[in-house]
Structures are given as C-alpha cells and as structure tokens.
Amino acid sequence: MASHIYECIEKIGQSIIDNRGFLTELDREIGDADHGINMARGFGEVLAQLPADNEDIGAALKKTGMVLLSKVGGASGPLYGTACLEAAKVCAGRTALTAEDGKTVFAAVIAGIQKRGKAVRGEKTMLDAIIPASEAYAAAVDAGAPVDACLDAMCEAAKEGAEYTASIRATKGRASYLGDRSIGHKDPGAASSLLAMEAIRSYVKGA
C-alpha cells in the first residue's frame, strides 16, 4: 500500500499534470509559455521515481525536491526544489504531521523560496499566494480550529493571493520585463502554488 506522503505528493503531481495547459497558458500571457510543461515534466518524474511505500515524510520531500531541481528547469525548478528541500529538513524522520507542524513547514518553505528567489510579498510571484496562505493557516491553527477549517482558510487565502497577482505589476521574474503590461494577468507560479495547496487539502480531507 502506498504511504500517506506518497499519496499526498501524488495528488499534488496529478493536479499539476492535469492543469498543464492552464499553467502554460497563464505563462504564455506574461512569460515564456513553459510553466505547465516544465512543472508537469518534473512531477511526472517525481511520481515515477518516488518510492511508494516509504512513510518518512522528510525523505519523500527530499527526493521530490531533488527531482524537481533536476527536471523542471527555469526558475520554478530551483524555487519549488528548494521549497521541498527546506520542508524536508523540518520533517526529517517524521511519519505524520500535526496541524501545528504545518506552521513550521510553511515557515521553512517560505524561507527557502525567499533565499533562492530574493523576492518579497507584492512582487507578483508564488509568494503572493503562499505567504497569505501561511498566515491564514497559522491564525486558524492558533484559534484552535479543526484541521479541515485550517486548510480551508489556507486555500481561501491562497486563492485570493493568486487573484491579487493579476492586479499588480511584476517586479521579479520574466514578467517584470513587461512593465505595466503584466497587470491583468495572474502569476503562473501563484497559480501552481494554489493548485498544490488545494491538492494537499483534498488529500487530507479524503484521507
């Protein structure tokens, strides 16, 4: 039987692969039309290479990070790869995570992405979905909400954040070259981050 972490990563990968065309189309508008293609190639490889029976969350995330790093390319490879590797460090040896642990994982992911991408909130990047999601999630956990509600809050904020990227001008990444012409288009990285978070919610709720 496949491990929990494998099933969760599989759910994320499947969502990315299913939305390959959608992500590429977003990137075609303000980038170089490869985000969906690259992410789908990376997650296809993750699903092929990830051992299905290992329950070690840290090990699974490390493997995922290494594969994304070596198969995705572009900026997304190092960013998502680093995010997974940093998350792997705080999950080393763990076979289950509590709601509280989710906050630690978020912090590690955000720190990793910022270290590699040198971006802050408001620059029309994946961080505009991830940081608000992290804050909403932490607030819900701190308020003692049940896990499902925490994940709903996370996804709601991520969705708002991804929508918000359409209203602002890009100052990081390839879309920044477009200047004001980037306004009106959603950031592909924010969109793929939202997909990943929605897949995690769907996995936890279904499990």
Binding site: R28, G73, K172
Partner: protein, 332 residues
C-alpha cells in the same frame, strides 16, 4: 504548427546529438547530460569557460564550443534554463585545475540554476566564478524589474573572455575582461513575427500583418511595446537611439557591431540594417572596427533582429580579433 521534427519530446536530445555528430572535431556530448564539451578540454591547461541556457538560441551556445571561446555549453529545454545538476556535471568534467568562469545571461531561472551549480561545484573544491550578462536596453534597469536581460551581446563575452582564457590568463583576469565587455556592451531587439515553442504548439504572441514588437528578448516573450511596422532604416534608428541613450558611445570611439538575426530573417535584410547602422555610426564619428552580421543568438524561427554595440579599447579589440575556431565562429 509546422516544424521539421521527429517528436516534440526529442527536440533537444536530437539537436545535441546532431551537433556532436556534425562537429566531432570540436565537441562531444558529455555522457548522460545535455552538455556539449570541447573535445579534449580536460587536456588543456586553461581557465574553463562554461555558458548555456535554454535551447532554441542556436548556434548559441554549443556552436561556440571550441578553441578561443567556450569549453562547455549546457542546454535546457527550449527557452528553459538547464538544471543545476547538468551545469554541475559540465563544470566537473571540464575543470582542469585553473578554475571555471560561468557566463550567465540575466534571467531569473538561469541565474538561480547556474548559481546552485556553482555552489555544488565549490563544495567539491572547484574554483567557480560567474559573470552575468545584462545587455538588453529595452528593459529599464531599476529596482522594479529583475534587471536587464542578457541577449546577443553575450556572444562578445564568449569571444573576448575565451581569447583571454586561451592566452593562459588566470581566472581573475578572465573574469575581469568579461566584466569589462559586459560594462561596455548594449543591445536591443525587435520582432516581425513571433516564434513557436514546439511543446506549446502556438506562437508566444500574436502580431497583426502590419505590426511589430519592439524590445523583445530571446525567448519568444513579448517585448516592451507594439507598433506599426516602419522601414528597416527607421527601425534600426529606433533601436540605436535607445542604445546611444546609454551614454557609453562617443565620437572618436571604436566599437564592434553585431547585427543579429533572430532565426527567421534573411541575411539580405540584416545587411540592409547593417548599412544603416554603419551610416549612423559614421555620422556620429564612431568607427565600426568590426561588424558581425548573421544568426548568432536566435529565438527559434522568430523573424526580427537585434543590434549590439561594444565599445572597444586596445585590450578588447585585440582579444576580439584573436583567432577562434568553433562550429559557429571561425576567425583566422
């Protein structure tokens, strides 16, 4: 989409194998990677120069692997940076103990992937330095963007730093001359027709019959603005105006000129542009000491061109004129 391919997934693989099959006297494919490495690179005692980026810019970057230019070129998927492990393998295979200079074009993905590779190689005790080319004046250099893109001017960095390395200069000097080129080189491009990434199947942007895109990069991405097509002369003047606005090029200077085709523009049109560029330089009292016209840094089948100017001093001019022998750049 109408392209001469065997399959969308095999584009890069077959292109690299084709280059290796066609040019075995210059390069080979590094086993298990998407890197082309100079034949016998390990035997030479010199600073190693490695560049690369997405595929689709041919002859860049593999075409510049050879004597007097690059020691290895690493290719990613079409218009996508190569991954850190690929660049790392190239660094490890090409190293001959005198250090490596990575020549990176300023794109977020390229910089991240090459930097990660440099960190990995440094962990193995290899001396790795990097330079980042950002010659495209279409993009304003401000804190509000990722910074200027690296485009065709990169070929001058390959040539001049390559000549310096071939002389046996140490890593610091090779890096310094590469930085000098970067400080003095500026480019700007435009497109008449967009290009289609094979895996996407449709053009990166759409232009009406009488429209052109000004300020494009080399990845099929849209430029800074769109306008009605003008004459070759008016278009060249427009690009030159932005380049001259940099305040680098003055009366009495000697410059190198590159009229670079984006892949789908006939040489005849590039020469029509070259004529205008020479005229304008003449009017400004600037001497075109060397002019390159051709497809040096392309964007698949995009129609359009870029103009690059490099201000020369004695050192840069001597290194630019030094011999080089690569599949795409040969000079006695």
């Amino acid at each position: 989409m109408k392209k001469l391919l065997n399959g969308i997934d095999s584009v890069v693989d077959e292109m690299l194998n084709g280059m290796a099959a066609a040019h075995p006297e210059y390069l080979r494919r590094l086993d298990g990677t998407d890197a082309l490495i100079r034949t016998g690179a390990k035997k030479t005692d010199k600073v190693v120069l490695i560049s690369g980026g997405g595929s689709g810019h041919e002859p860049a970057h593999g075409g510049y692997v050879g004597r007097g230019m690059l020691d290895a070129a690493v290719s990613g998927a079409v218009f996508t940076s190569p991954t850190p492990d690929q660049v790392y393998e190239a660094i490890m295979a090409a190293d001959c103990g005198r250090g490596t200079l990575l020549i990176i074009k300023n794109y977020t993905g390229d910089v991240m992937n090459f930097e990660m590779a440099a960190d990995m190689a440094a962990d193995e005790g290899i001396r790795v330095e990097k330079v980042i080319v950002a010659d495209d004046v279409a993009v304003e250099n401000s804190t509000w963007t990722t910074g200027r893109r690296g485009i065709a001017g990169t070929v001058f960095v390959h040539k001049i730093a390559g000549a310096k390395a071939e002389e046996g200069a140490p890593l610091e000097q090779v890096k310094a001359v590469a930085e000098k080129v970067i400080a003095n080189v500026r480019s700007m491009g435009m497109a008449i027709e967009p290009c289609t990434v094979p895996a996407v199947g449709k053009p990166g942007f759409e232009l009406a019959d009488d429209e052109v895109e000004i300020g494009i990069g080399i990845h099929g991405e849209p430029g800074t603005h769109r306008e009605k097509i003008g004459t070759a002369q008016a278009t060249a003047d427009q690009l030159l105006e932005k380049i001259f606005a940099e305040g680098i090029y003055h009366e009495g200077d000697r410059v190198a000129v590159m009229i670079n085709g984006m892949g789908g523009t006939p040489l005849s049109e590039l020469y029509i542009v070259a004529l205008r560029v020479e005229q304008v330089l003449g009017e400004k009292g600037i001497c075109a000491a060397k002019t390159l016209v051709g497809n040096y840094m392309t964007s698949l089948e995009m129609a359009g061109f870029s103009i690059t100017l490099l201000k020369l001093d004695g050192e840069l001019e001597a290194l630019l004129n030094a011999p080089a022998d690569t599949p795409a750049f040969r000079q006695l």
